[in-house]
């Protein structure tokens, strides 16, 4: 039976290990945004042993490229992008201390294995609910790669940001479980 958790970032090993595919989690605290272009640069820095623009330990990475904010708003609409484009980078991020990713859509076997091996989870947020999710973001600041525009790395602060556990630390996959239940 699915459980509901309220967690604050950065996430600890204990925070993450208790979660199971299908659980609902409301996240508060800091998330870092990154899409493919930013991931490529971050992983290059890790491989060269150079310092990253933010601390990976316990971090939650949100795969998003928001719309520009309207005057007075911290950010525009900000729902998840499709995650498979980050599959080749995510294991390295998890290996170096990141604890969770937020996106939408399937991950490959390497990412699922990395979640088991390094103790990380993959959360799904509702794709196409950009207006609703954008309102859960209380502040936003570009911390790296401003030239990437919507793909820049942002430090965003969220309050009760709703996500569902897709892949947990035991190798479960909600997409496979959910579909198997309703397939005719």
């Amino acid at each position: 039976m699915s459980k509901t958790y309220y967690l604050t970032t950065p996430l600890s090993d204990e925070d993450v290990k208790q979660l199971r595919s299908g659980d609902i989690v409301y996240l508060s605290g800091v998330l870092y945004t990154a899409r493919d272009a930013a991931h490529k640069r971050l992983v290059e820095l890790i491989e060269k042993g150079e310092k990253l623009p933010f601390d990976l330990e316990g971090s939650v990475i949100y795969f998003v490229g928001p719309t520009p904010p309207k005057p007075g708003d911290p950010i525009g609409s900000a729902g998840p992008t499709t995650s498979y484009r980050m599959d080749s980078y995510s294991p390295t991020m998890l290996q170096h201390g990141s604890k969770a990713m937020i996106g939408k859509g399937k991950r490959n076997q390497e990412v699922k294995e990395a979640c088991k091996k390094f103790g990380g989870v993959y959360f799904g947020a509702t794709g196409g609910a950009g207006a609703l999710l954008g309102k859960k973001i209380v502040s936003s600041k570009v911390v790296a790669y401003p030239e990437l525009g919507p793909e820049a790395v942002r430090k965003i602060e969220v309050k009760d940001f709703p996500v569902t556990v897709i892949n947990d630390t035991e190798g479960n996959d909600l997409y496979q479980m959910g579909r198997a239940q309703y397939e005719q």
Binding site: K70, A129, G130, G134
Partner: protein, 283 residues
């Protein structure tokens, strides 16, 4: 020859783009409501609830429905007895696109294919638009518009079958495309299927099929029946809203069929996410 001013076209295009970014059309909203009522999975039902809430927030607060505000795609029917004065029709549509995306705080998502450099400061903000022109009788310009997101476009496919594949081949192919796509294109989906024509005609028809009103019935009885058959098959896949598992994977299947070569049966499947932002105007 009737005349329409360049700026009239620019303003009309700007306005429909801004409106489409924030206001989910009635047909799409009602289709989501119906899916919400019929969905058997509690997890998918919750997702559908979020999508309806999201549409309400977007409309009330004039925020983009989704951060992927798409590439701007147009099907334009130009009457042979009308002309645009003060500039080219194509330029007017592109200018209206740029203004609509900028003024609506929508995202600029066009880029170079390999360097991935965003084109907003070089070619223009979310330019170029994708425009398909057709010449028709009369003195009107009919503009159909949709904002097409990347996630659903990425799972779309086309293939030219041998004629022997027949209807069964088409049904199996569409099932394969949607099954492989799973959660990635943001279901519940509208599925555009272009059948016949040539390779590119099938693809363009599958795109245009997505502009049709969700819930409308195909005028061709044979295609209407095939649409129902495919929709039922797709909803048996169990993918559900955002792939969480469920009974409501597809809101509608729309087919556009064309005559084709005696040697070929082209089929194209263009996938539309639940945020079906489409509209049309006549000038």
């Amino acid at each position: 020859m009737r005349e329409i001013a360049f700026d009239t076209v620019v303003k009309a295009v700007r306005d429909i783009i801004m409106h489409s970014g924030t206001d989910l059309p009635k047909d799409a909203y009602e289709a989501l409501q119906k899916a919400y009522e019929q969905e058997k999975s509690p997890v998918s039902k919750e997702v559908l609830k979020q999508l309806l809430d999201n549409a309400d927030i977007a409309k009330d607060e004039q925020r983009p429905l989704c951060q992927d505000t798409g590439l701007a795609v147009f099907f334009v029917k130009v009457g042979e007895e009308v002309k645009v004065t003060g500039g080219l029709l194509k330029d007017a549509i592109n200018k209206g696109t740029e203004l609509g995306y900028q003024d609506g705080y929508l995202r600029a998502s066009t880029c170079e294919p390999f360097s991935r450099a965003n084109l907003k400061d070089t070619v223009g903000y979310n330019l170029p638009a994708i425009i398909h022109f057709d010449l028709v009788a009369g003195d009107k310009i009919e503009i159909e518009y949709a904002a097409k997101g990347g996630g659903s476009e990425n799972v779309s496919r086309a293939r030219v079958f041998p004629p022997a594949a027949g209807k069964e081949g088409v049904i199996e192919y569409v099932k394969e495309v949607i099954s492989d796509a799973g959660p990635n294109p943001c279901p519940p989906l509208t599925v555009g299927v272009g059948i016949g024509g040539t390779f590119e005609k099938a693809a363009i028809s599958s795109k245009h099929a997505l502009f049709r009103e969700i819930g409308s019935v195909n005028e061709d009885a044979e295609m209407a029946e095939l649409e129902t058959t495919i929709k039922d098959e797709l909803n048996k896949l169990g993918i559900g809203a955002m792939g969480m598992g469920g009974t409501q994977t597809v809101l509608a299947v729309h087919i556009e069929a064309n005559p084709c070569h005696i040697a070929s049966l082209p089929v194209s499947v263009n996938v539309q996410c639940h945020s079906s932002r489409h509209t049309h105007i006549t000038l």
